[in-house]
Symmetry: C2
Subunit: 326 residues, 2 copies
DNA sequence: TTGTAAGCGTTATCAC
DNA sequence: GTGATAACGCTTACAA
């Protein structure tokens, strides 16, 4: 493969001049530039990015640490983040953590050695002390000291869900979901605002019968057995807001198994957007996050990183996605 | 950040010795090694991977070009591929093509400049002439000259689907799906064997009424309008095999809209595994690909790449995933 | 405007 | 066993 020396030699100039042409930096006489460009074309020369990274100590790569790419919402977010970065000349390194702190730590170390330019972090683990704060970092949905974050408007999501249930005449209302706790430790998350917005609104409308389940979920997941048991003491519930679509699905299944009709007897609202690729049955009513806007906000924060932004947060609006369950 | 020179200076030796210690290459006296290791520990020195890539002209990064990470099957495959590579010390660069030839070409160029070690290719476009064949490449489901590939056993998938329909008494059988054509050009794909295995088996069992729809799909997708029209001439169909779950969903919806019961009146089988995260309605009966095994096969082929393997292919078994539609 | 040369942080080749 | 030193391919002073 041709290198910068080859180009310089054939163009009859020094390598610095070639470099100037490539980078459009400094002065180069028009004739010289054209000559160099011609040679570059002929050799179909492309600068070696590793060498460039070497001098710059940067490599135009952004790492994205997230639990996995299998869950629909993550897969979508990942897709849009990649598109955004691509448009701005950055590449994406995919770091699935499977929610394991251990794997996150290994990746965090690796990022240093690989001189990755920036990091997008989506985790429920407390990785605070492993974070290299001199790197641009943007977190999604989680608070870390001096790390700007993007979140969808979780509080408003709770408000919307509450209003919908109230509007549909629900009187005995339940919330189910924990506040996104990590593997080993608790971490501060914006997700807990779903609950807060929901409860606040119910109270504002003087709903008195509220069941607030803080059952610790794993991966926002609850099994049918668990929920059957959790529901046992509350036979009169007529409206449920779930912290995720995944939980909502379980909830609906259990309700049906108990002979309840959804939405006639009990209304159920999930969170994430009710996207399940081509559903054959009921479509869940859900609070919808917008992965494309989220991706855009993350990219902006990350690539125009400014120390002053360290405590900035960007909140992306949510909306209710109509389905068949509430 | 400490570098190899710092370590050498503090350990009172030359950088070559430090390098030997780091890489466990060549002879180093035990005492010296221990001294160096101590300093490395103290400085928490980690070699700069960019510099290593510079000398090696390799960077331990594997690029994965695929349409997107939003579709369930792709998201799963991506997940398992990342896990496999991680276990072997490689990082994954995610390259969403959105099926656009143009974006694939840009990525293919970039891979050269970044000296990516290897490439996993999942595309319906004919990128043959943009491929740098000196790089280890593994393709999924597509044939390119001198590029080994991994595919699930598409032929057997067709056989299984046929047998299931026959076994359930279907007499008037339809296949729907094209043979995975790209944006601009046709490309040879293993996916076409789904059709072949299916038809072969029907013929073997002397089924005479076969409707073979080769309607060109985009992204394995067919709209309800399109399929309504396609079905029109064949009111007696009682069994349908679809090239993907996505198509199967549309098919089932149209059938139901026409007053047909599934599976009582018409049996439908899809392809990919019937995974739709927590389905509330019918679960589709489907031919299931195993993304974990596929990922493993890809990794093996890629990391133990051997020129002799250029024409190798690895076929991963499929099985039928029981659902409610056939 | 342009070229020389000094890095960037490693690995690998040779002498010693 | 070990230490200079020359690559690797580029960017960027600095000098001319």
């Amino acid at each position: 493969m041709a290198n910068i020396k080859d180009v310089a030699r054939l163009a009859g100039c020094g390598i610095a001049t070639v470099s100037r042409v490539i980078n459009k930096s400094g002065y180069v006489k028009k004739e010289t530039r054209e000559k160099v460009e011609k040679i570059i074309e002929e050799l179909s020369y492309q600068p070696n990015e590793i060498a460039r990274s070497m001098t710059r100590q940067k490599n135009h790569i952004v790492a994205f640490i997230l639990p996995n790419s299998k869950h629909l919402f993550f897969g979508e977010l990942l897709y849009h983040v990649e598109e955004e970065l691509f448009d701005y000349g950055y590449k994406l390194m995919l770091c699935n953590s499977s929610e394991k702190l251990e794997k996150e730590i290994i990746y965090l170390e690796m990022l240093k050695n690989n001189r990755v330019d920036a990091l997008i972090l989506l985790t429920n683990n407390d990785v605070e002390k492993y974070l290299n704060k001199s790197l641009p970092i943007v977190s999604f949905d989680r608070y870390f000291d001096d790390v700007p974050f993007v979140a969808s408007d979780n509080y408003q999501g709770g408000v919307l869900a509450a209003k919908r249930l109230i509007q549909h005449g629900c009187k005995n209302i339940m919330f189910i979901g924990d506040d996104a706790q990590g593997e080993h430790t608790q971490v501060n998350t914006d997700v807990s605002k779903r609950r807060i917005g929901f409860i606040d609104t119910l109270e504002k409308y003087h709903i008195r019968n509220i069941v607030n389940l803080e059952y610790p979920l794993k991966n926002y997941f609850v099994s049918e057995e668990q929920f059957t048991e959790l529901l046992q003491p509350y036979p009169n519930i007529d409206g449920i807001f779930c912290i995720s679509d995944s939980v909502a699905f379980t909830v609906i299944k259990v309700l049906k198994a108990k002979g309840k009709r959804v939405p006639e007897d009990v209304k159920v609202i999930g969170y994430d957007g009710g996207r399940t690729f081509n559903n054959l049955g009921q479509k869940i009513t859900s609070i919808k996050q917008d992965p494309e806007k989220i991706a855009k906000a993350i990219r902006e924060l990350l690539l125009h990183f400014d120390k002053k932004d360290k405590n900035r947060s960007v909140i992306i609006p949510v909306e209710i996605s109509d389905g068949d369950t509430a």
